[in-house]
Amino acid sequence: MADMKVAAYICQGCGLGDRLDTAALAGVAKKEGKAALVREHEFLCNAEGVKMIRDDIANEAVTHVMIGACSRRAKTEAFGFTDVAVSRANLREGVIWCQPETDEARETTQEMAEDYIRMGCAEVKKMTLPEGNPAAVTERTVLVVGGGVSGMTAALEASKAGYKVVLVEKSGALGGWAAKLYKRSPGKSPYAEPQDTPVADMDAAIAADANIKVYLNAITSKTSGSPGKFEIEISTESGSTATEKVGAIIQATGFSLYDANNLPELGFGKSANVVDQAGLEALAKAANGGAIKRPSDGGEVKTVVFVQCAGQRDDTGKHLPYCSGSCCSTSVKQAMYFKDSNPDIDTVVIYTDLRMPGNGEDFYRSGQNKGVIFTKGKVSSVEASGNQCKVNFHDLILNDQTAIDNADLVVLATGQVPNSGVDIDTKLKADIAAAAGDNSLLKAYNASQVEGAVQPISVLNLTYRQGPDVPQLKYGFTDSHFICFPYETRRTGIYSAGPVRRPMDMVQAMEDATGAAMKAIQAVENAGLGRAAHPRSGDLSFPKVRLEGCTQCKRCTVECPFGAIDEDEKRFPVFNESRCRRCGTCMGACPVRVISFENYSIDTVGSQLKAVDVPDEFSEKPRILILACENDAYPALDMAAMNRNVYSAFVRIIPVRCLGSVNTIWINDALSSGYDGVMMMGCKHGDDYQCHFVKGSELASYRMSKIGDTLKQMGLEEERVATFEVAITDIERVPQLINDYAAKIQEIGMSPLKGF
């Protein structure tokens, strides 16, 4: 590589020239930043300014560019140079827009700007230009696991977009749950009548599609590799195995109905006339439009009772706690089976809250119009006697303990249980708790592993060290970032769609499958270009590890939220670049700091915080370091500045990829170089996390909970390091947090470690 040549550019536009002494900034860049070339420009992001930089790169052999202008989130196209390393000093949002425009504030504002120039120059010198994944390859084939409506939709959509598809279905035919239905709830206007399921049409379309290869009676018995180069072993029931190479995977394994055998109090198992929704669909299919007969004796059905939320939305802890969001609509549809064949049949739906998502309200109204009786109530028990059942319930409108005495058929609306495979985190959580001295979880886990106990069967059989399936969040649904990245599981290149992700109806499942197919295609393409998939889409950097310094502690392999890191036989980490999301959680975890990215490393941040000019104890100018998550906290800070929300001039902000990438060495370095406080701003964690990297902010807060000892050793107060949960919408709150923290630091007093 050619010699490093740093050029610094300082913009005078957007009021920077008026508010700041840019000549002094240029001096700082030259003298302290050691930039070989320093230029000021009155409007750096216009065509002329950008051309100036381009010319310097071409003619002056500039390899590293420091741009002192606006936030790194602004003007990304103008300053998006791909042939040099670029750092940005945030003088606009980070300085002049968040500082008062007064004469008194001029001095501290200028100091702030000078520090950001020093930081920008220090950072860029530690950066190299990301070169992309050298091992980038891609297979333009998508694997779809599960041949229900979700899986078939995903396969057809991916094929329509020009990609080959391998579709693996466990049973002997495509269609899944939908194939068991007599009719489906309406998916199109006027949403008034049950419709035929799309199974036959989709089945025919798949059969006619040369791009789609279907394996029936087959499972994915082994999945290895990474995005762009997954290798799938497909075992069929007959014993033969096939191998397929695919670029991305869509898991559309759907749901099973909650087992109604758990509901003996509702008469299931006690009378043949108590069925679940699948049971009624089977009866309706057998009747095929004719009268549905009573199962116990084939007698005429005059009264049907539908029991909603059977074993769902349960607060006793015995059954499913959640709403499945599709059963109300199914019951309305099933009541119509009876009303359409004979309007004199009485159909009663007993619900606590009728939930009809999408355009279901029209369908509900249509049911009412047909004379289906809806009553708000809670069923306590179903008693079977002879060929009829007595349904005891509490009418919640009339506050009446009452009963329907002569139901010929009772239909239980049990909910959806995801077919998501093995819960790999139970063991992990148990291990972590055991390491912390709590053995109860591990005992419970071991008890569940005794011989003969029914174990969930793995769907994907991943060969990842982290476990054979994708991680789950709550109730067994696959984990994904609910708000921003609904399809992306925590295994890059593997997308879940349909009811395995969250409970849903067919309309939503088909939308979901389409979305997941598009995501899978993005993953295939990004892997081919050696770039990151979401959320750092297009990022060419990836972790490099100095193995000679590695102590095989396994923290990176355990803490990577995405299972990107395997271990070799000597327990050294093996990075799978295309599985990596470039969050840097491994870098934050590494105690010996051997993991880094080309443009983001222990050094790029460490050198920035050391570049700041820390005034002495008597200056009354404290210095507070803020490590802000670039996904939420940093944009919130930028937006606060756009609204001219003023905050303390004593803070110096460094954006980080994720709070999970914060290595404690940065905190140590900051405190020992005389900073008076360190604020960390990351996303909400927990079950309803907002962290773009799922576990990053949680890991950070865990690590920081242990920092007290270090502070004590240094003789510092605990308040000198503080972690905050910040959302992107906290535009008013963020300046307040900063000012409150600055006030607290004022109270505690200046750090005693200055000037050493």
Binding site: D346, N369, G371, T375, T402, I404, N406
Partner: protein
């Protein structure tokens, strides 16, 4: 006898009660009950009446005085998200109960309505003096005198202001073609009976 939570009574209401075919469309949100200014004085707000109809509580509904409490303010009709003509249904139910002879005895609204109708149907115009006296004396002669004495000053005031003519007590004025008016009422009744299947 209508069975619980079966369609019998609902079907009866649909056939016999004005706007009764709307009852099944109620979605039990309770906005009508919350909007009714007389809500606290009803035994059953409209939401409950509709549920009771669907639950097959025929006697309880038709013998209830709840429908009679409606003052036709139309607040419920304006607010009903399902656009049910609730006021009309209430009056339809009251009317139906009255015809069946099931409506509660001595229900003041019903008594007043009966007096009003009979008064009006005679001459085609409401004789206010006779109507008021009819109300005063509905609970017997002694109570009637007491009521009249209590309202004495109001009555005299109205006479002075020429809003009340004592001579109206004797016959009073009516519409021009009384026979034609009576024929009209008879025809209207016939049409309604035919529509609602009353003999």
């Amino acid at each position: 006898m209508s069975e619980k939570y079966h369609n019998n009574f609902l079907k009866e209401v649909e056939e016999m009660v004005e706007e009764g075919e709307w009852v099944k469309m109620c979605m039990q949100c309770g906005v009508c009950a919350g909007s009714c200014p007389l809500g606290p004085h009803w035994a059953h707000p409209p939401q409950e009446i509709f549920m009771m109809i669907r639950a097959g509580k025929r006697e309880e509904v038709l013998r209830s005085d709840s429908m009679w409490m409606c003052t036709s303010c139309y607040n419920c009709v304006v607010r009903c998200p399902r656009k049910l003509p609730i006021t009309h249904i209430m009056h339809g139910l009251a009317n139906y109960a009255h015809r069946l002879g099931l409506s509660p005895k001595n229900q003041p609204t019903q008594q007043f309505a009966t007096l009003f109708w009979n008064n009006l149907a005679q001459t085609g115009r409401v004789n206010e003096l006779k109507l008021s006296l009819g109300i005063y004396f509905k609970d017997g002669f002694a109570q009637g005198v007491k009521n009249a004495m209590a309202m004495q000053s109001v009555g005299l005031g109205m006479v002075k202001a020429k809003r009340l003519n004592p001579m109206e007590l004797f016959g009073g004025h009516g519409v021009k073609d009384k026979a034609g008016f009576h024929a009209m009422l008879k025809k209207a009744r016939e049409i309604e009976d035919r529509r609602k299947n009353f003999a």
